[in-house]
């Protein structure tokens, strides 16, 4: 048989309250991080830039000669080229898009930029 003392009951109650507080903080954290992403409302821009860059990189690889394209972003973003994937991010979640890679791509990360160059030289493509 379990005996419950007054002290034990208070400890149990404190534990329940602590669990409540912990869970409340956890849920608030998740909600706030979701809201932060939604409030910034940049997911469309990131998805657009990632898709557009992937299509552009797929296209310029086929171009016979060397080519340099100046690309202006709609807002300050971080653009990363890794293998056959373009990853676009800001402070929130990253959005990526892949493209068919037929020539070498040099991995590069351009942090917080509004303008950059897509360079295809010989059989190599990169961002500068």
């Amino acid at each position: 048989m379990v005996c419950w003392s007054k002290k034990g009951a208070m400890e149990a109650e404190t534990l329940v309250i602590l669990a409540d507080v912990f869970f409340l903080l956890l849920v608030s954290g998740v909600l706030l991080s979701e809201l932060r992403d939604v409030q910034k409302n940049t997911t469309f821009e990131k998805a657009y830039v990632a898709s557009d860059l992937a299509a552009l990189l797929a296209t310029i690889q086929v171009f016979a000669g060397d080519v340099v394209i100046e690309y202006t972003l709609p807002l300050t973003l971080t653009v990363e080229l890794r293998g056959n994937e373009v990853v676009v991010s800001d402070d929130g979640a990253a959005v990526s898009h892949i493209f068919p890679k037929i020539i070498t791509s040099t991995p590069v990360t351009l942090s917080s930029i509004t303008k950059f160059k897509i360079v295809k030289k010989g059989r190599e493509v990169t961002l500068l």
């Binding site: 409540d20 409340l24 939604v38 797929a58 293998g83 892949i98 068919p100 890679k101 037929i102």
Partner: protein, 158 residues
């Protein structure tokens, strides 16, 4: 006291349940309130076809790329020359002008076979197929033969 704690358990579970539901609801509503994905699938399929005809299948001879002239030997080695993960798969059939098969090959054959049975299924899990026939020349020995190349591209939805 034991009874008091036992009685608080359902209330606590309910509280936590409501909180979890709230988070899930927010996640479910978000895609309806903002654009999360830009569907460029159709453009990518056509771009891939054009890329095959303008670069990956093109005959290279004497230091020149002969656009519009295909090299049949390149059809079977596409997987080694294009990196595209599992975004799309394709079947390429090269025939002469009378329709006699010259050569055929796949790009990501395993995925092509898996996805082509799902063509027409709507929504996530389904696939879409694009078929195009192009008139081309291809090399056979030292001759250039007129023919057609049929490119079937299969791509998962989403």
């Amino acid at each position: 006291m034991k009874a008091q704690i036992t009685s608080t358990i359902p209330i606590t579970v309910m509280k936590y349940g409501i909180a979890v539901l709230l988070v899930l609801l927010l996640r479910a509503i978000t895609p309806y309130t903002m654009v999360m994905h830009v569907d460029t699938g159709e453009a990518e399929r056509y771009l891939f076809m054009n890329q095959l005809l303008a670069s990956s299948l093109v005959l290279e001879k004497d230091g020149y790329a002969h656009v519009g002239v295909l090299d049949p030997a390149k059809i079977s080695t596409l997987d080694q020359r294009i990196t595209y993960d599992h975004r799309l798969a394709a079947k390429i059939i090269l025939s002469n002008a009378t329709g006699t098969l010259n050569s055929e090959g796949f790009f990501q054959e395993e995925w092509y076979k898996l996805w082509s049975v799902l063509v027409g299924k709507r929504g996530p899990g389904g696939t879409v197929k694009e078929e195009k026939i192009y008139y081309v020349l291809y090399q056979e020995g030292e001759k250039l033969i007129p023919g057609t190349v049929k490119i079937d591209v299969v791509m998962p939805i989403g």
